[in-house]
């Protein structure tokens, strides 16, 4: 331990000699690639015939990273094996790669980061990337900028690398983009909001504080989030402290940016040169493959520095195949076969007269004569027999046999039936084939099928069991599919539709499913012929979306609407839950304060703590405080007595409203209005408002501003007693303003 501490201190003296470390989160924590990922982890899926993880390693090596920790969870053994067999473990690679197997209970990136912390892996600033990154960005330059910034600002804990893209870009996934609000000068990230394709995020809300403290900001929706983060050592410990952080962007980034206590800054690095993108879903799989083939990733291109170590030749399209096609070694393409815009693995056979268009075919797959395969991903060792049609968006798992004469509809997903009676023999054959292939290959990135079987059975791991049970369920639901898949098929068809798509199983499923559709290979939304109601994510709309985001008129709304400005649509249920609890807590705490006569300052501190603990926006606190004060006013008979009571309560506690962490009188008035409208203290609205005015908690201008907002008139509220009351409150406000006007004219008269 001792030398480590010493080296930590020396850090200040010679920073350049430090080993640059990287942490790869090699698990995706989602299931967008299934059934391709049932047997292989996503990071070992081949992209342009090299495992995704090798592309990531190469990207990091290009940036001069010397030590890499790979955090793997699902199929961790395979990842470990793949790493030990890869060229990176050979001497002279200059990189130390340490696979770290985390517990099966690691369900999110946050859990993985906590694991990084508990293991004490990182000793200095490090690069955090996902295991599906393809990049040629000079990350060392980002690290340098980050360290430079750290010298002057110790609170700059993270630098995120983002890449500019246009309004519509194939590499910026529709279902998974985000809005960044950056300081124009320092590119400090001030606000972040994810954008979902369904329900389509049409507006973003920017906290008022951002506008207050930064004279010039950029609101950008054209950035590809490369998920390359240069982090300081504090970052894992922040995850440790906040055990509910799951996603690095949605939770951690958002948490740090909105926290008043942490006072940490996060910066963006808008990469001008270079390329970086993640293979997050099947759609980005396609776009990244295309980008690699059109050489955006240079020098990481197949004919130059192919991460799999294969040698490819770059040539002008020969007669048989179109441009931007990659064909692996020992692959046979028979006469009259057309291959366009596709990637074909090694040892494949494409039958005579077949048409392969925009598809990704892994190693050792045999496609019979007269087949048509369009925009699909076909796993390794698949046999597609003659005259089969595979429509776009299909995912065919490893080892599947389909056909002959089968027709796969768009977006069909197939995987191999396990241990089905009568299929064993055939399966063995497959295994033999695969083994033979492996012997010929120079690097064994693909796993043997029989290994998989053993793994499945031997490993007592929850996820696989869960998966197994899922597969069993699917198998149980196979009826008359064989008629579609052809008589020789060993495949099972995965159900379409939202129900199985993700395991959460509640009301958001449909939304989540539609959101995922936007991230699916070949799913355009514009092709209405095949897609159903989920086609909201067309490219045309994305343009409106970005213009919506950029228009400035959303800001003021954050003050007066009742909905949370920050919660994402999918998080609403949990957010509401939290808010309810929070409201009760505030009410209790204030009740205690009122009863025991705490000082206003103490009560304010208590409220702040509560707010931090439950992570709610300021407007919620204001509403709760206003509500509590209104409720504290006792209803007494007699106008004079009532007024006295109000002035007692407001005079004692009114100040608190402005001490909770921000002054926003307009919001106070609308909170008062909303609360009074739904409470039995409705008649007191005018008097309380007057009292607030008397005690200078709200100014005349604020009341006027509130009066003008649409929400104050009850616009957008469902008709009912509450809406009625809201309107009456508004009328009361109107009278008050009339009084102001009179007073003003009187005073003017006097002065004249």
């Amino acid at each position: 331990m001792a030398p480590k501490v010493a080296s930590g201190k020396e850090k200040l003296i010679d920073e350049d000699d430090e080993v640059l470390q990287a942490v790869i989160l090699a698990d995706s924590f989602d299931k967008l690639f299934r059934p391709l990922t049932t047997r292989t982890p996503r990071c070992l899926l081949p992209v342009c015939n090299a495992p995704l993880l090798d592309w990531t390693f190469e990207s990091l090596a290009l940036a001069g990273v010397q030590e890499i920790f790979v955090i793997c969870r699902s199929h961790a053994e395979k990842v470990k094996q793949a790493i030990s067999e890869s060229k990176w473990s050979r001497p002279g690679s200059g990189i130390k790669i340490v696979p770290i197997m985390t517990a099966k209970e690691t369900f999110s990136a946050g859990d993985a980061m906590r694991d990084v912390y508990t293991r004490g892996l990182v000793t200095s600033d490090f690069v955090l990337v996902m295991g599906d990154l393809v990049s040629n960005i000079r990350i060392d330059e980002v690290v340098r900028v980050h360290k430079e910034r750290r010298k002057t600002n110790k609170d700059a804990i993270m630098t995120m690398v983002v890449k500019e893209s246009g309004a519509a870009h194939r590499t910026r996934p529709q279902g998974d983009s985000s809005v960044f609000v950056l300081d124009a000068e320092t590119s400090e990230c001030l606000h972040y909001e994810p954008v979902s394709a369904y329900p389509r995020t049409a507006m973003t809300r920017i906290p008022r504080e951002v506008l207050e403290s930064h004279p010039e900001i950029e609101i950008r929706n054209d950035l590809i989030d490369c998920s390359i983060d240069v982090c300081s050592v504090e970052v894992p410990s922040l995850f440790q402290d906040n055990f509910d952080y799951e996603d690095i962007r949605r939770d951690f980034l958002h948490g740090v940016l909105t926290s008043d206590l942490l006072m940490k800054n996060i910066y963006c690095y808008v990469a001008k040169d270079g390329y970086a993108a993640r293979v997050k879903d099947t759609k980005s799989y396609e776009s990244v493959s295309k980008d690699i083939l059109s050489r955006w990733t240079f020098p990481l291109v197949p004919d130059d520095n192919h991460p799999g170590g294969h040698v490819y030749q770059h040539s002008r399209a020969p007669a048989k195949s179109g441009n931007n096609t990659l064909i692996g070694a020992s692959t046979k393409i028979h006469e009259n076969a057309q291959v366009t815009g596709s990637v074909i693995g090694r040892n494949c056979v494409i039958g005579a007269g077949s048409i392969i268009d925009g598809s990704y075919i892994f190693d050792g797959t045999v496609i019979g004569p007269q087949c048509v395969v369009k925009r699909s991903i076909i796993g390794a060792g698949v046999t597609i027999k003659e005259k089969t049609r595979v429509e776009k968006g299909c995912l065919v798992g490893d080892g599947v046999v389909v056909g002959p004469l089968a027709v796969l509809d768009s977006f069909e997903r197939l995987s191999k039936r396990r241990n089905a009676p009568g299929e064993d023999e055939e399966e063995d054959d497959d295994d033999d084939d695969e083994e033979g292939d492996d012997d010929e290959e120079d690097d064994d990135d693909e796993e043997d099928d029989d290994d998989d079987e053993e793994d499945d059975e031997e490993e007592d791991d929850d996820e696989e069991e869960e998966e197994d049970s899922e597969i069993e369920e699917i198998e149980a639901n196979q009826d008359k599919t064989s008629s579609i898949l052809g008589k020789d098929s060993n495949a099972i068809v995965w159900p379409r539709g939202p129900s199985e798509d993700d395991g959460d199983g509640d009301g958001e499923d449909l939304a989540a499913y539609k959101n995922q559709r936007a991230r699916r290979l070949g799913d355009e939304g514009s092709d209405l012929g095949v897609s159903d109601e989920g086609s909201d994510s067309s490219d045309a709309e994305s343009d409106d979306e970005s213009s919506d985001d950029d228009s400035g008129n959303d800001f003021y709304m954050s003050g007066d609407t009742g909905t949370s400005p920050l919660a994402t649509p999918t998080l609403i249920p949990s957010g509401q839950m939290q808010e309810k609890e929070f409201r009760i807590e505030v009410a209790q705490s204030l009740e205690r304060a009122f009863a025991e006569g705490h000082s206003v300052d103490n009560a304010a501190v208590e409220l702040k703590t509560l707010r931090m603990a439950s992570n709610v926006p300021l407007s919620r606190v204001r509403e709760a405080v206003v509500a509590a004060i209104v409720e504290a006013v006792k209803i007494v008979d007699g106008a004079a007595a009532q007024r006295k009571e109000i002035s007692r309560v407001v005079g004692r506690w009114g100040e608190l409203i402005n001490k909770i962490g921000g002054v926003d009188a307009v919001e106070t008035v609308s909170a008062l209005q909303m609360h009074c409208a739904s409470s039995d203290r409705f008649p007191l609205f005018g008097q309380i408002l007057a009292e607030l005015y008397q005690t200078d908690i709200v100014e005349e201008d604020d009341i006027r501003a509130w009066y003008k907002t649409p929400a104050a008139k009850g616009v957008g509220l469902a008709a009912g007693p509450t809406a009625e009351n809201v309107k009456r409150c508004w009328a009361v406000g109107g009278k008050m303003i009339e009084q102001f006007d009179e007073q003003e004219s009187e005073s003017e008269d006097e002065s004249e």
Partner: protein
Amino acid sequence: MASEPANTATQRAVETLAWKLRRRQIVGSRATALETLLVLRQVISKSRFSNMEQLVAIIRAVGRRLVEAQPKEHSVGNTVRKVLHHIREEYHTATKGTATTSSGGFSISKFVLLGQPRKQAAPPKTESKGTLKENDPDDPDSFARSLKPVLMEAIQDVLDELETVYDNVSKNAQNHIHSDEIILTLGMSKTVEHFLISAAHNRNYTVMVLETAPSYGGRDMAKTLSAAGISTFLVPDSSLYGLMSRVNKVILGAHAILANGGMFAITGSLLAATAAQEHCTPVVVCAGQFKLTPLWNLYHEYGALDFGDPSQVLGFEEGSLVDKVDVVNPFYDYVQPNLIDAFITNDGDHPPSSIYRLIKETYDDEDNVL
């Protein structure tokens, strides 16, 4: 044979260079040649061998590894071949006491005088004489021990040649450029830069530099030339043809000179050479000898051109275009021998038709395929 653990350090040096070549962390023919030479020196000084075949095998293995890592940097292979050639020469000197006569400065006039190409027969294998003993069972290291100093010297010679290559290429510059000439060049080539600056000491002439999109190396070139006091114009690529009628000479740099007298040179060279031919303007190529490559029709013309990424031509942010447009951005042009009038090397001036001879002189035939 050499033991594995002793070799890990050199092994690592080789691998590191291979990685750098793959990742394009070392680019440029001279830089790669220098790095290759340094690694070879390390390999030779550390490795153990008891006869000539072993030594050659070791160097070839290293050479093959490096060439495979980056087949498009031809100077790597050239350097390895050159070192092998020198080693054999030294070996023959040591064993026979007589060096194979080296013709020294080779020029067009001498070529005419010499007539028939000299047959470069491998000298008959003679048993070692004097102090040099191969395969000595008592002391397997004796061969290496006695030969190593000479080998180091041989490598030092190659190194010196590389280091002085610019000066040697440009020593005759004033004979090629005359006063009041207008010279056209393009791209950023250190050799051409030295050549032009050296000529400027004695001559007063004008240089037109093409911008050379998309790398815009011409801009840097124009800056350095005008800083050296040469009257320089930076002109857009599109005006190439229009200007050509006024140009007296086109001077180009090369990436690799091929055995057929053609060359790989920065994109735009082919255009310039073709325009020059139309106007009967002489095209002169300045290059160091290490660019001589005993290969031609490598792969085929298209694939050997080494394509860069499209971002220099089309911004990645042009999302709607990226999906629909394929950008082809080759680094090099293949310039056919008939478009080139002369090569000026550190080993004299040659017409394209005699490059094959120069290559035969510089390398041993058996090394053409490493």
